[in-house]
C-alpha cells in the first residue's frame, strides 16, 4: 500500500499549543500515528532546582496555565510530605475550593474547545461565556484570573474574605443553572451524539497498559481518582462522587467531564459553607524543610499530577520531578487513534485534553562550571539591583 503521511503541527489550530504528530493515512483512515514532543520543553525541573520552594510554587504554576493550581498543589503536597507538615483546616478548604473551581473552568474550557474542534463554535462560545464567571470568582478570591498564586507550603497565601462568600455562592448558583442548560443542550443534540459516539475508543485494558489517568481512564471504566484514594486537603471532609463511565469513546469523555463539573460545584458549595463558619489561620508558617524525599499528587482536571522532591536542608530542592497527566495520557493515542478517519482522530487527540506545556516541563542537568546564562531584561534589572546594592553598601 502506498504510504501517505500527514504532519500535524507543530503549529496546527487543533490545539493551542505546539504539538507534532505524523499521521500515516490510507485515504482518510489513520493507520499509524507517531508523536513527537519537546516543543514546549522549558526545563522546569531544572529551573526549579535553582529556585526556592516558594518561588518554585510560582514556577510550577507556570508549567501550564490551564489548570494552573494543580501543579502548585501537588508540589506543596510533596514538600509537606518530606517533613510531614500539617496545614490549618481553613487552608485545606481554601485549597480544595480553588482546586475545584479550577476543575470547573478547565472542563468548561475543554467542552468549548471540543466544540470548536468539531466546528461547533456555538458550543464553544456558550461554554466559554459561562466559564467567565468562574474566572471572575478567581479574581475575587485571589486577585488574578489565572495563575492565582494561592498555594504556600503549609497553607495558602490569601484568605477568602468572609464578606465575599455569599456573593461567591450566588455566583456559583448562577453558573450551575446555566451549566445545566448547556449540559442538556449538549447531551440532547443528536448530531453531536452521532458525531462523537463510538469515536476513538480507548479500551479499559489499553488504559491500564498506558497507565492513563484522570477522565481519560475514568471514561474507560477505571475508577481511579486521587481525591478519593489519597485524600489530602479537605477532600476527606467533603462529600462527592467519582464519576466512572465505561465506553472510553469521545462522547463518554465529554459526558464524564460535564458530570464531573457538577460534582465540583457540589464540592465548592460545601467548601464555601465551611469557610463561612471556620476561622482558623490560613498558613502554618514553617521554618525549614529537612533533608529527605517526598511525593505529592493531586487530581488535576486531566488526571493525576505527580511531583517528587528531594531536599538537602536548604530552601531549594535537589531534585524535583514533575509528571503531568497528559504525559501518560497522550501516548494512549497510539491505542485509540488507529483505524479511524482523520476527522475522528483529531477529535480523539483533543478528547484527552492534552496539554503539552506540562507534558514537556522537565529536567535538570548538573553543571559544575556555573557558566552564566545570558538573559536580557531580567539580567538588566538584576544588574541594576546589584548596582543599587553596591551603592548602598558603599555609603
Amino acid at each position: 500500500m502506498n504510504k501517505n503521511v500527514i504532519p500535524v503541527g507543530p503549529f496546527h489550530p487543533l490545539l493551542e499549543e505546539a504539538e507534532y504528530f505524523t499521521l500515516t493515512v490510507d485515504g482518510e483512515t489513520v493507520v499509524d500515528i507517531e508523536l513527537d514532543i519537546g516543543w514546549m520543553h522549558r526545563g522546569h525541573e531544572f529551573i526549579s532546582e535553582q529556585k526556592t520552594f516558594t518561588q518554585s510554587i510560582f514556577l510550577v504554576e507556570r508549567i501550564c496555565g490551564i489548570c494552573s493550581t494543580s501543579h502548585p498543589l501537588a508540589l506543596v503536597h510533596a514538600i509537606e510530605d518530606v517533613d510531614n507538615i500539617e496545614i490549618p483546616e481553613r487552608a485545606a478548604y481554601i485549597r480544595t475550593l480553588i482546586g475545584e473551581l479550577e476543575r470547573i473552568h478547565s472542563h468548561l474550557l475543554w467542552l468549548g474547545l471540543a466544540g470548536h474542534f468539531i466546528g461547533y463554535d456555538t458550543v464553544w462560545m456558550w461554554a466559554w461565556k459561562y466559564r467567565e464567571p468562574v474566572l471572575e470568582m478567581f479574581e475575587v478570591i485571589s486577585g488574578n484570573r489565572n495563575h492565582y498564586g494561592m498555594m504556600r507550603v503549609g497553607g495558602v497565601s490569601k484568605d477568602v474574605e468572609p464578606a465575599k462568600i455569599s456573593e461567591l455562592a450566588k455566583n456559583l448558583d448562577m453558573i450551575q443553572t446555566k451549566l445545566e442548560m448547556i449540559a442538556k443542550a449538549v447531551n440532547d443534540d443528536p448530531v453531536l451524539k452521532s458525531r462523537l459516539k463510538g469515536v476513538g475508543v480507548l479500551t479499559k485494558q489499553a488504559a491500564i497498559d498506558f497507565c492513563a489517568v484522570g477522565p481519560t481512564s475514568r471514561a474507560s471504566g477505571i475508577p481511579a481518582d486521587v481525591r478519593k484514594t489519597d485524600p489530602k486537603d479537605a477532600y476527606g471532609m467533603v462529600d462527592f462522587k467519582v464519576i466512572v463511565l465505561q465506553n472510553g469513546d469521545v462522547y463518554d469523555k465529554l459526558v464524564l467531564r460535564v458530570l464531573e463539573t457538577f460534582e465540583s460545584i457540589k464540592i465548592v458549595k460545601q467548601c464555601l459553607d465551611k469557610l463561612a463558619e471556620n476561622n482558623s489561620p490560613i498558613l502554618n508558617d514553617i521554618k525549614e524543610i529537612k533533608p529527605g524525599e517526598g511525593i505529592g499528587r493531586y487530581e488535576a482536571p486531566r488526571g493525576e499530577v505527580f511531583h517528587y522532591v528531594r531536599t538537602d536542608g536548604t530552601n531549594r530542592p535537589i531534585r524535583h520531578k514533575v509528571r503531568a497527566p497528559s504525559y501518560v495520557n497522550i501516548p494512549t493515542f497510539q491505542a485509540s487513534c488507529k483505524g479511524i478517519p482523520i476527522a475522528d482522530a483529531l477529535i480523539t487527540l483533543a478528547a484527552v485534553d492534552p496539554c503539552y506545556c506540562c507534558t514537556e516541563r522537565s529536567l535538570k542537568f548538573i553543571d559544575i562550571n556555573h557558566d552564566p546564562l545570558k538573559y536580557d531584561l531580567l539580567k538588566i534589572s538584576r544588574e541594576k539591583t546589584e548596582s543599587f546594592r553596591r551603592q548602598i553598601n558603599g555609603l
Partner: protein
C-alpha cells in the same frame, strides 16, 4: 498607504503561535474571541494558516526546538505581518530565564513589534495592545 493601513487596522487576522508558553496566554487569547470580550467587533479574526495572518500573536519563551519553526513560520507569513509578543514570556522570559533550553535572544528568532506584558496579560490589556497597534496603523 494611509488608506490601506486603515483597512488593515479594521481587519486584523491573527495567527496564534505558541512557542513554549504555559498555555495561559493562549487561553486568554482565545478568551478574547468569546462573548465577554468579543474582539470580532474590532474586525479581528483568528485564522489557522499563517498565510492569512496579519498579526502573529506570539506567546511563550521560545525554546531551542521550536525556534527554527517559529522563524520559518514568520518567514512564511504574507507581509505585512506584525508580531505581538503576548505575556511576560516573550518580553522578559518570565521565570524561565534560568532554563537551558530557551533561546537567549528572542528577537533574533522573530522580530517582535510589540509586547503586551503580564502573566498572563488580562484580556483587557491585550485589547488595549491591539488598540494601540490599530492606532499606530491609523497613523
Amino acid at each position: 498607504m494611509g488608506w490601506y493601513n486603515k483597512r488593515l487596522a479594521k481587519s486584523i487576522w491573527v495567527f496564534h503561535m505558541s512557542a513554549s508558553p504555559c498555555n495561559n496566554c493562549d487561553i486568554e487569547i482565545l478568551d478574547l474571541l468569546t462573548p465577554k470580550y468579543d474582539i470580532e467587533r474590532l474586525g479581528i479574526k483568528l485564522v489557522g494558516s499563517v498565510r492569512h495572518a496579519d498579526v502573529i500573536l506570539l506567546s511563550g519563551v521560545i525554546n531551542q526546538k521550536v525556534a527554527p519553526r517559529v522563524k520559518k513560520i514568520y518567514e512564511q507569513a504574507a507581509k505585512p505581518c506584525f508580531v505581538v509578543g503576548v505575556g511576560t514570556c516573550p518580553s522578559g522570559g518570565c521565570c524561565f530565564n534560568d532554563s537551558y533550553n530557551i533561546v537567549e535572544k528572542r528577537e533574533d528568532v522573530i522580530p517582535i513589534d510589540m509586547y503586551i506584558p503580564g502573566c498572563p496579560p488580562k484580556p483587557e490589556a491585550m485589547i488595549e495592545g491591539v488598540a494601540k497597534l490599530i492606532g499606530v496603523l491609523n497613523g
